[in-house]
């Protein structure tokens, strides 16, 4: 096995030294957190008024969890720890339930994050000889830009194409002999299904590996895609609250994802009690971001479920491995790689007077892509008897939804009372997608 490192010293640091480094960085982080209105109040309440109050890593548990809603409440600058002059980039969510979550980075934050991405890239065996086609969206989403800069740092040739336009993607792969992709599993599957249409087969291409993220998928999906393309596929995990992609990455062994523990403190908790679970038990993943000072986040609840492997990896990296995401503790849906909450859809629907009380969200998968259908009841009193009114209503619902969740949906209109009522145990989300 060809084992390569970007920063061998840090990546193989002895556990004891790794914990010491975490403690030093945690203290520094608490210093920055104290400068934000949000944490100043919260940490004081928890009995922490200076970095010295953190004696050892156990003291982290005195700090209350931070949740996504805290980020919204703190919008826009309640979690900002530096002057805006020092901020060089902003990433933002699409605006879950109206208020977006915003992430700030200083130049140094981006530098540290990029370095973690470089580690992940090298861990999969990629290097300067590779041509990297980045098929994740650029822009406010962290997936595109994150890997972009990481790959440039390692010295790969980057094709910053972003998502979509399958024909063009295939053309680029062929013209530039692309060897590495960064892509969602559903899109990778979709491209394979469309290859015959463009008279291209994987054998015509120079693909060697793919980094796959943004959507949960099973080991079977990985194996199937590896076989379809004849390539190696590596899992990547990240979230914008923890900078973006590259929080954890698989190495050449492809046996789950190494967390860069000098950059993030990972805890696995019982989502019901908040208690930290013993290593190896499945629970909710909690991260403390040790490398971002512009916007500190301490003990952030990801709502993702996973577990940590206690045994070391033969590659020699000491950062423990987390499992792939096994589920969620909330009702978040992932539709073609975009995170969507049913509450976002509900809020839009309920703001439209012609829409009645009940709705249902239907998810299906066709040709490797997710399809979203939203069934709504019309409000009888506003029915005019015109077909054009109903067509306009459908268009209006779709437009408003797309503005919020960035996804096109098929709108179905129903008579009042036709959909299951919310009271009781009505299922608002019907997910008929095959498990990837």
């Amino acid at each position: 096995m060809d084992i390569r490192f970007w920063n061998q010293e840090i990546e193989t640091l002895a556990q004891k030294d790794l914990r010491q480094l975490q403690l030093t960085r945690l203290r520094e982080l608490v210093g920055y957190a104290m400068k934000t209105p949000f944490y100043h109040k919260r940490l004081k309440k928890a009995g922490i008024s200076s970095p010295e109050d953190i004696q050892d890593l156990e003291d982290l548990q005195k700090i209350p969890f931070t949740v996504k809603d805290d980020l919204r409440q703190a919008f826009p600058k309640g979690l900002l720890a530096v002057d805006m002059e020092q901020v060089v980039r902003i990433h933002s969510s699409s605006g879950t339930t109206g208020i977006p979550t915003v992430i700030y980075y200083t130049a140094k934050d981006l530098d540290r994050w990029t370095d973690l991405l470089a580690r992940g890239i090298v861990a999969t065996g990629a290097g300067p000889a590779d041509v990297f086609q980045n098929m994740m969206s650029y822009g406010l989403f962290t997936g595109g830009l994150g890997l972009h800069y990481g790959a440039e740092r390692v010295g790969l040739t980057v094709i910053p194409v972003g998502g979509g336009n399958t024909q063009r993607q295939l053309q680029l792969m062929r013209d530039f002999k692309t060897s590495v992709l960064h892509i969602t599993p559903s899109y990778l599957l979709h491209i394979h299904q469309r290859m015959p249409e463009f008279r291209i087969s994987p054998a015509d291409l120079n693909l060697k590996k793919a980094w796959m993220g943004a959507e949960p998928h099973s080991e079977n999906t990985r194996l199937k895609l590896q076989e379809l393309y004849g390539i190696d596929i590596y899992n990547s995990y990240g979230l914008s609250e923890m900078n973006g992609p590259g929080v954890a990455f698989e190495c050449a062994y492809k046996k789950d994802l190494h967390v860069w523990e000098d950059g993030y403190i990972i805890e696995i908790i019982d989502p019901a009690t908040g208690k930290v679970l013993p290593e190896g038990q499945e629970g909710e993943v909690i991260f403390t971001n040790l490398i971002r000072h512009a916007m500190p986040l301490l003990r952030y609840r990801t709502r993702d479920l996973a577990f940590l492997h206690p045994e070391p990896c033969p590659c020699g990296r000491t950062g423990r491995r987390m499992s792939r995401i096994t589920g969620r503790t909330d009702d978040m849906m992932i539709i073609n790689g975009v995170n969507v909450f049913p509450s976002q859809i509900e809020e839009i629907l309920m703001s439209i007077p012609e829409v009645g009380n009940n709705y249902q969200i239907h998810l299906t998968r066709k040709e490797g892509l997710d399809r979203l259908a939203v069934k709504v009841e019309i409000y009888s009193k506003l029915f005019t008897g015109d077909l054009s009114q109903l067509d306009a209503l459908k268009a209006k619902i779709n437009d408003k939804l797309r503005a919020s969740i960035t996804i096109n949906s098929r709108i179905e209109l129903h008579e009042p009372g036709a959909l299951p009522a919310f009271e009781g145990k009505a299922k608002r989300v019907v997910d008929e997608r095959d498990k990837l």
Binding site: I378, S380, F383, T384, G385, D386, L387, L390, D391, E412, L413, H414, E415, P416, G417, A418
Partner: protein, 143 residues
């Protein structure tokens, strides 16, 4: 002279049209003319009935999404060009037809056409001036 058309929102579900029509049948309400405008997932059933107010009330009671719309019904000879003649009158006077449907009367030489206009009052005026027979509420009830 305007008459009331009953519009019903119909979702695309097996047996729904039957349910709607049997409600009318049981209440002794007679359908005089009917059309369905449909899309992939829903339709709008439009009809002229002999007792429109009663029909609307009946539908509301059964939680059927219903609306009453003013339409104009005219009688034309059931011969080639019958509809074209009426449409020419309207077109010459710039009266806009939103939609229309027709049916043939029993034991009669005439056809009945139901029009939805954006301006029913003016349409009525134009038709009357051209000597077209416009049907009133009473005529419908008695059909």
């Amino acid at each position: 002279m305007k008459i009331k058309q009953i519009s019903v929102f119909l979702e695309n579900r097996k047996g729904r049209l039957y349910e709607i029509c049997s409600l009318l049948g049981e209440a002794g309400i007679n359908i005089r003319a009917l059309t369905i405008a449909e899309t992939e997932t829903f339709g709008v059933l439009r009809m002229v009935v002999d007792k429109p107010a009663q029909a609307a009330e009946l539908f509301r009671k059964h939680h059927v999404t219903v609306n009453q719309t003013d339409v104009v019904a005219v009688e034309v000879p059931d011969t080639p060009g019958g509809l074209a003649n009426v449409l020419k009158i309207l077109s010459d006077q710039n009266v806009n037809v939103e939609y229309m449907y027709g049916f043939v009367k029993k034991f009669s030489e005439k056809a009945l056409l139901v029009f939805r206009f954006d301006d029913p009052a003016r349409a009525h005026q134009v038709l009357m001036a051209a000597g077209v027979t416009v049907i009133g509420e009473k005529d419908i009830t008695g059909l």
